[in-house]
């Protein structure tokens, strides 16, 4: 099995290396064939692994490959932990990656960086595999930063665009803020458990639990610090600011990295650490509240966006918030379930948006679209499936996962859970509103497309529509098919620990009968009507009476201003962190380093020596009679002092 797991991880890397170093030599076709082959191998093997571990309940694989560092009893290795959680992640990552690889053939067709792009996305796939397959914190951190690196390279892929290279720097640095917390968390794990291996750490938790730091349980501190890392990667408020900017990258990577896989690394990590998070209600409450804030407030921003990718990006933020809420209420398997359904439908939506963008000659403003339904039927229908899945329309994939999150919050006994419940239910309305608003503006209504573009408007190439269809299928059925086994039949049981005091999952289990029975039941629930309300509002404002939208905007100009300025996060960061830090740097450099240390202390002492030399120099005249005079004169003074000073100690000798 070890070889098989290695092949999964390494085959995209081999593809990436070939594409990166020999891409220009190999040519476009050979490059994409090679990289797609690499990911295809991983996908097939991942399905095999999924079958072996999840369906046939094969044994958990936990083995080190090689010793990275050995210091006495501390062993840090590179190794794999393959359990059901990993198996699910492998399938999701490899499948979406494969689709994105294929889609790229069409999307990047005329780009000069074609081979470089394939190299990057294959490298990303490798890094993501390393992250989810890790059996220890060091390798987790390696994967964590490696996906960040590739994300950096891909956001800045069009490096001639100033906005793109600004965004990738921002993305890297904000992620580094998260990683700062993450690394400290890892450091505390080592300090208190003496190991970085997951299983060793988990088994020594009893020992760690009783210790205190800063008046809190050490376990709480560790969990909060690790969660800071998750906040960076999974873009939770206030570390979410990098994700909208990441849309500067080509659309395929927005689908792969900034929607389906990398941004869910934080969700995966917290689920992986469930034995630790379960020990701290404080940490879980924080996780839940941060998630709820992100889910609600980032969704609101989706309403005022007019860039097709930005709308989807804010929707991603909001959905990541939902997943985080699920983590907070100890419904880890529900979070992973939503992670999976979201990966499919959000990748679909992004790729659909990409298809529209290509057709529109890179026009991304949804106000300048409209009526695309007839021109792009495949994109239209798949986007419809994606949208319905996103808003949680009964029967679609997102319906099951989101409904379970809302119910799990409902059953949670954590403090503030009732507020969070309100947030996630209102969030359903908002999600439906911005999703359908975009959907209507792009595909329905009057065409507002520029006439020059309208002439050439046509459906995208098969290499782009095939992935759309291939992702639409799971967006439709995956929830229905997997909700039972994944949440209630123990698919993830060997990876996730839930304390008995956290009853959400047990309650959900009691309520759950079958996937089919959830659909008719949905009509009696509040979230369903919130969703219908959202759809209706969107229809009214974007199809039925478009002028009402302007009227509301004017009436609520204050709210509108707050939303359009994105709550001022960017302005605050620019003011405090960008300009502030530059000012501080200049101050330290000019005043302290150059001014005080170098000018005054260093060159000052050199000058002092020079000065003393200058003063003393006239005395050294070289004339004997000058020296004789000084000697006699000095002797005179000394004698006078000896003789006439009152209680001179010398006299007592």
């Amino acid at each position: 099995m070890e070889k098989l797991y290695l092949t999964i991880a390494l085959s995209p890397l081999v593809g990436a290396i070939f594409a990166g170093f020999f891409g220009t030599m190999l040519g476009k076709t050979a490059t994409h064939v090679l990289t797609i082959l690499g990911v295809l191998i991983s996908t097939i093997l991942s399905l095999y692994v999924f079958n072996y571990h999840v369906l046939e309940q094969g044994e958990v694989f936990n083995q080190n490959l090689y010793t990275w560092m050995q210091i006495n009893n501390l062993n840090v290795s590179v190794g794999f932990l393959i359990d059901n959680l990993t198996a699910v992640m492998l399938v999701v990552v490899s499948f979406v990656s494969l689709m994105v690889h294929i889609y790229t053939i069409g999307y990047m067709h005329d780009d000069t960086g074609y081979t470089r792009f394939f190299s990057y996305i294959s490298l990303f796939t490798f890094s993501m595999f390393i992250l989810v397959m890790s059996n220890n914190f060091m390798q987790l951190f390696f994967g964590w930063e490696a996906v960040g690196l590739v994300s950096y390279l891909l956001i800045g892929f069009w490096h001639h665009k100033e906005s793109a290279v600004q965004a990738n720097l921002k993305a890297f640095l904000v992620n580094r803020v998260g990683d700062f917390g993450f690394l400290l968390g890892i450091g505390l794990v080592l300090a208190f458990s003496g190991s970085l291996d997951y299983m060793e750490v988990f088994s020594s938790l009893n020992k760690t639990m009783n210790q205190q730091l800063w008046g809190l349980d050490i376990i709480t501190i560790i969990c909060l610090l690790l969660f800071v890392g998750a906040m960076g990667k999974s873009a939770q408020v206030p570390l979410h600011v990098w994700l909208p900017g990441s849309m500067e990258g080509p659309t395929p990577i927005s689908a792969l990295i900034h929607a389906a896989t990398m941004v869910t690394a934080g969700i995966f990590m917290v689920s992986r650490m469930s034995p630790m998070f379960e020990l701290s209600d404080v940490a879980l409450t924080v996780v839940m509240i941060v998630g709820a804030i992100t889910a609600l407030f980032m969704g609101l921003l989706g309403i005022v966006q007019n860039d097709i990718k930005k709308v989807v990006a804010y929707s991603t933020l909001s959905q990541l918030g939902y997943m985080t809420v699920a983590l907070g209420v100890s419904a880890y398997s529900v979070a992973i379930f939503h992670l999976m359904t979201h990966a499919f439908f959000k990748a679909l939506l992004f790729l659909g948006a990409g298809s529209v963008i290509v057709a529109m000659h890179h026009q991304q403003d949804i106000r300048k679209m409209g009526g695309l339904r007839k021109k792009m039927p495949i994109t239209y229908w798949t986007a419809l499936i994606g949208t319905l899945a996103l808003i949680g329309f009964p029967g679609f994939a997102g319906f099951y996962s989101k409904d379970m999150i809302i119910e799990a919050v409902h059953f949670s006994s954590l403090p503030y859970a009732s507020w969070v419940y309100v947030a996630v239910v209102v969030g359903v309305f908002i999600t439906a509103f911005y999703s359908l608003r975009m959907f209507f503006l792009v595909f329905h209504g009057e065409s507002r497309v520029d006439v020059h573009i309208a002439k050439h408007l046509h459906e995208s190439a098969p290499s782009m529509t095939f992935p759309l269809i291939a992702l639409a299928i799971p967006s439709l059925v995956i929830g229905y098919l997997t909700i039972g086994p994944m949440l209630f039949n123990g698919w993830l049981d060997n990876a996730i620990t839930i304390a008995s005091s956290h009853a959400s999952m047990a309650e959900l289990n009691r309520e759950f009968h079958s996937a089919a029975s959830m659909i008719p039941h949905a009509i009696q629930t509040l979230p369903f009507w919130m969703m219908i309300g959202g759809i209706a509002t969107a229809w009214v404002f974007s199809i039925y009476r478009t002028q009402w939208a302007d009227w509301v905007q004017k009436k609520c100009h204050r709210t509108n201003y707050v939303l359009e300025s994105l709550y001022g996060f960017d302005r605050f960061n620019d003011l405090v962190f960008v300009s502030g830090v530059k000012k501080l740097g200049n101050l330290l450099y000019k005043v302290s380093d150059v001014g005080l240390i170098d000018k005054i202390l260093v060159n000052g002492s050199a000058k002092l020596i020079g000065l003393v030399g200058k003063i003393v120099r006239p005395i050294q005249t070289g004339y004997v009679y000058h020296y004789a005079f000084f000697m006699i004169f000095s002797l005179l003074i000394i004698l006078t002092w000896v003789l006439f000073a009152g209680d001179n100690p010398l006299l007592k000798l």
Binding site: N72, N73, M138, E145, E162, G187, K582, Y589
Partner: protein
């Protein structure tokens, strides 16, 4: 050959340097070829230090000892352990790179330039292998001379100021070291460093000796606040000079703490460890902010060097606070992390200075605003530059991560706040490095001269490729290096924790 391998490593480059001077500047090509062949030969010979090294003992190996000045019991006594051996190989490795890097670039007095680097190589190997304090001191001071000449002759416009500042700063520091060495000779009757390790010293004596050593080593590292010579020296030095300065000469300071301060003055080291830790943390945090606002690329990298070397001193001195009787891993993480950081910094700073050198050779400017959009005309070069920048920012998978990771993990065990401050480099280090990358490499070309730049040639490519391999291999598999030094470091830890009082 085994018996006199170390002597060969020291004297072969020195005498070859003399030979190269006699070849003369008129026969520059001969001088270049002789130099590069000698440096490769020395490197290969130094590899046999590695292959026949016994990492299971902390005892000195490849020991040579003959009497030198018998009246004062001064011996020509050399040998290596797991602490000095990796640094010697780093020296022989870097020397090849700088000689190749100066190949076409140095047209003025080429033979002398090559000779200076060869001699310096021998002298620095002498520093790392000396087991006699006076011999050590002689090599230590002598190694200043070639560097002084390199900056003073082949440097930039303000080279005289920089070279004198460099010389006085470092010379001032080491004078105090000489005084304390003589004091210990008077007390113990031996200049042998290993004897000094066992010399009984009171806390007061240790205190004076500790600070005298500190003066010498802190200037070399350099530590805050005696670091201001470094940016000037780097800015004025030619590329090769910067590479050797950053990659090796700074390590002499770090090495001093390992070889002298900890074992000779263990109690004073414990007593004053928190002061050194605070200075190290200032170096990491404060210098990071200073680096952020630099416009001169070399200055920026020089400040980044100071910040990274802060991890070395931090790792060394957290050993006392991180120590737990039942688990010494915390202390070892700091010490071994410091060693790994020194080696890694040797690769990365060399690479970063070479990267700037490549640009400087073309446009004769080190100012960041001169550039912008370099990727458009130099894509291959940009690939390397981004890799090294990421290594400089401590990305896992590169050597830059390993040392920082180990030192931070150790520091957290000493005191969580040390860890917090040290880990802030994750943000600040990435900020100054990648902001520079953004302004120099990404974006559109604004300066028409940048559009005419030619991508790196085979010579430049091979130097950068060798360093890239070194950075990646050490990042992905550091265990061989750690294993090499482990026994020596553990012995050192034992010495540092054993009170002399």
């Amino acid at each position: 050959m085994e018996d006199s391998l170390l002597s060969l490593l020291i004297w072969l480059p020195i005498f070859s340097g003399v030979l190269v001077i006699f070849i003369g500047n008129n026969r520059a090509n001969t001088a270049r070829w002789v130099s590069v062949i000698i440096s490769i030969l020395v490197f290969i010979m130094s590899l046999s230090l590695y292959t026949s090294f016994d990492s299971s003992t902390h005892l000195m190996q490849f020991v040579e000892k003959t009497s030198w000045i018998s009246q004062f019991n001064i011996n020509y006594h050399i040998g290596v352990d797991g602490i000095s051996m990796p640094l010697i190989i780093l020296t022989t490795f870097s020397t090849i790179l700088v000689i190749i890097a100066g190949w076409e670039v140095i047209t003025k007095r080429c033979a002398h330039y090559m000779a200076a680097f060869l001699m310096m190589e021998g002298l620095i190997i002498g520093v790392f292998s000396s087991l006699d304090a006076i011999l050590f001191y002689v090599f230590w001071e002598a190694s200043l001379i070639p560097m002084l000449l390199i900056i003073g002759i082949w440097g930039g416009d303000n080279r005289v100021y920089a070279s004198i500042k460099f010389f006085l700063y470092t010379f001032l520091g080491s004078v105090f070291m000489l005084v304390s060495l003589i004091y210990m000779y008077n007390k113990g009757g031996s200049f042998s460093i290993l004897d000094m390790h066992n010399l009984e010293l009171s806390l007061v004596e240790q205190g004076y000796i500790f600070w005298a050593f500190f003066m010498a080593f802190a200037v070399k590292v350099p530590m805050f606040p005696v670091h201001t010579w470094l940016p000037d020296a780097h800015v004025q030095a030619p590329t090769g000079g910067s590479v050797i300065l950053a990659a090796i000469m700074l390590k002499m300071g770090g090495y001093g703490f390992f070889r002298f301060s900890l074992p000779i003055t263990p109690d004073a080291s414990l007593e004053f460890s928190e002061i050194i830790i605070v200075l190290s943390l200032i170096a990491i945090v404060y210098i990071g902010f200073v680096a952020l606002v630099q416009r001169d690329m070399k200055k920026l990298i020089a400040y980044s060097s100071i910040s990274h070397m802060g991890f070395v001193t931090l790792g060394v001195f957290t050993l006392f606070l991180a120590y737990k009787p039942d688990a010494i891993e915390g202390s070892l993480l700091g010490l071994e992390g410091a060693m790994v950081q020194m080696i890694s910094h040797g690769f990365i700073s060399a690479a970063m200075f070479l990267v700037v050198g490549v640009l400087y050779d073309r446009l004769h400017s080190r100012e960041i605003p001169t550039y912008g959009g370099v990727i458009n005309s130099m894509p291959k070069f940009t690939g390397f530059a981004v890799l090294f920048a990421m290594a400089n920012a401590g990305l896992p998978g590169t050597s830059g991560f390993v040392g920082e990771f180990m030192v931070i993990l150790g520091a957290i065990q000493a005191n969580i706040w040390y860890g917090v401050l040290a880990a802030s480099t994750l943000i600040v280090g990435a900020a100054y490095t990648l902001w520079m990358v953004k302004r120099v490499f990404w974006g559109t070309i604004t300066n028409p001269a940048v559009a005419t730049l030619k991508d790196i040639n085979a010579r430049e490519f091979s130097i950068l490729a060798i360093l890239a391999v070194a950075v990646l291999v050490m990042g992905l598999y550091p265990q061989p290096v750690i294993e090499l030094m482990h026994t020596s470091i553990e012995h050192l830890l034992h010495q540092a924790l054993t009170s002399k009082l």
